[in-house]
C-alpha cells in the first residue's frame, strides 16, 4: 500500500494508513485529512475521536427491526403512534431514513442488512430473515411491504420473501415500479416502461 512509503513520523503515517482504509479515500486524500487534523485545534480532534468511538460503542441493532439504534427497542419500534400492523422491509438502515423523509409510511420497519446475491454466495441465512419471521409469528402484522431495491438482487430477494411469507396469510406488497419523477419517457428502459404501463392508474 502507498501509505507504507510515506516518509513521515510514525503517528502521522499511522493516521494516514487508517484514513486510507476508509471507502473512497486514496493515499492523497488520506494524507490531506491527516495534515488537516495535525493543524486543527485539539478539541476538534477529540470530538472526532469521540464521535468515532460512540458509533462503535453506543450503537447496536434493535432486537426487533434490526435497525441501528442507541436504545433497544429503537424509537420506531417503541413509538405507540406508529401502526404496528404494517412492516416495511428494506435492505439497509439508510433506506429507512429515505422512506421516513417521504412521511408517507406510518408503520414499522425491518432491516435485512443485505440482499440475496447468489453469485457472491449471499443467501437467506446471511440476512435478517429469521428475525422477520419471528416478528410475524403472533399474527398481529397484517401487511409486509417489500421495499428492496428494484434491481436484480433486490427483486430476487423480494420474490424469495414473497414465497416465504405468502403461506403465513399476511398481505405482501411490493413498492410500485415506474418512471422517476422528473424523468423522461423517451429514455426509460424497456423493463421500467413495461412495468409503468402495467401499473398505470386511472386519473
Amino acid at each position: 500500500m502507498a501509505a507504507d512509503y510515506v516518509p513521515a513520523p510514525e503517528p502521522v503515517a499511522r493516521l494516514i494508513e487508517a484514513f486510507n482504509r476508509l471507502p473512497g479515500i486514496g493515499p492523497k486524500t488520506a494524507a490531506r485529512l491527516t495534515y488537516h487534523i495535525l493543524r486543527a485545534p485539539a478539541e476538534e480532534a477529540r470530538a472526532l475521536t469521540e464521535a468515532v468511538l460512540a458509533v462503535k460503542e453506543r450503537l447496536r441493532y434493535c432486537s426487533l427491526c434490526q435497525n441501528i439504534t442507541e436504545h433497544d427497542p429503537c424509537r420506531f419500534c417503541q413509538d405507540p403512534q406508529r401502526d404496528s400492523s404494517a412492516i416495511c422491509v428494506v435492505e439497509e438502515p439508510l433506506d429507512v431514513l429515505a422512506l421516513e423523509r417521504t412521511r408517507g409510511f406510518k408503520g414499522l420497519y425491518h432491516v435485512l442488512h443485505g440482499v440475496i446475491d447468489p453469485m457472491d454466495g449471499i443467501g437467506p441465512d446471511e440476512l435478517k430473515i429469521r428475525e422477520l419471521l419471528a416478528r410475524l409469528r403472533d399474527g398481529r402484522v397484517k401487511e409486509v411491504v417489500l421495499a428492496t431495491n428494484p434491481n436484480l438482487e433486490g427483486e430476487a430477494t423480494a420474490m424469495y420473501l414473497h414465497k416465504l411469507l405468502a403461506p403465513l396469510g399476511v398481505k405482501v406488497t411490493r413498492l410500485a415500479r415506474g418512471l422517476p419523477a422528473g424523468g423522461d419517457v423517451e429514455y426509460a428502459d424497456e423493463v421500467t416502461l413495461a412495468r409503468a404501463l402495467e401499473g398505470r392508474r386511472e386519473m
Partner: protein, 267 residues
Amino acid sequence: MPAPRVYKAEGIVLKGRELGEADRIVTLLTPQYGKLRAVAKGVRKPRSRLAGNLEPLTHVAVLVAHGQSLDIISQAQTLEAFRPLREDLWRLSCGLYLAELVERFTVEGAEGHPVYQLLLETLTRLALATREELLLRSFEIELLDHLGFRPELGQCIACRRALEPVENFFSPGGGGMACPGCRYKVGLTRPVTVEALKVLRLLQRRDATTLARLRLRRALAAEVELLLREYIAYILEHDVQSTVFLDRLRREAAAPPAGGRPAAPTG
C-alpha cells in the same frame, strides 16, 4: 490514424460490482472482445438513463468510450430483457448460475463468439422453457466443449479401450472416464452408473430429439448434475457459488419451511 475514442459493442451483462457512491463496474460478455469490464457512471441514481439497461442477464447494445484504466459505458440500449426469466425466482437463479459460469470461465480481451452465442441461446430458451435442469446440463457440456475441456466419455482415458456397459469411473483430473480396471491409475474418481453415462453422451452429442423425450428420475438427474459440478469445480479450482442458492430453492420446494418457522437453517 488515431484510434477512435468510442466503440460499439453488443453483449450480455454478467454481473455488476458497485464502485464508489453511484457508479458500477459492469461485466459484459461480447462476441468481439470476449469479457468486457467497463464503468457505468451514476447508474445507482434513480434518474440514470443507463441503469435499467445494465442489470445482469440483459442483452444490450452499448457505446463505450476508452478510459484510462477501465472503459466507460456512455450509452446502453436493451435488445432483450428476458422478462419471464426475471419474474420467476427459480429461472432467475438458473440464469445467474449460467452468468457466473461464463464469468468464471472466460478471460478479458479474447474473442468470445461461440460462448456468447451459447449463452444467448440458452437464456432465450430459459425464458421460455420448462425443462430448466436439462437446459443447464446441456449448457455445461457445451461450454466445456468450447473451452477445450470436453470430457472423454467414449473410451477409458488410461487403456483407451471402449467402455463396457458396467459401472465405470469419472476422473475430474484425467478429464474423462476410466474403466473399472484402470480406476486407480487416474487419480480420484467417482463411480458413474450406466444410465448417467448414457445421458452425458446424449448431452455431448447434442441429440436434441432424444433429449426432448428424456425423462430423468430425480436420482439420475442428481448424479449427472453432481458429476458435472465436480468436474467444473476441479477445472476452475473454485466452487460455483450460485449452486448453493439453487440447491436451497430446490430443497425448499420439496419441503417448504413450515409456517412462521425460520427457513431451514442447515449446517
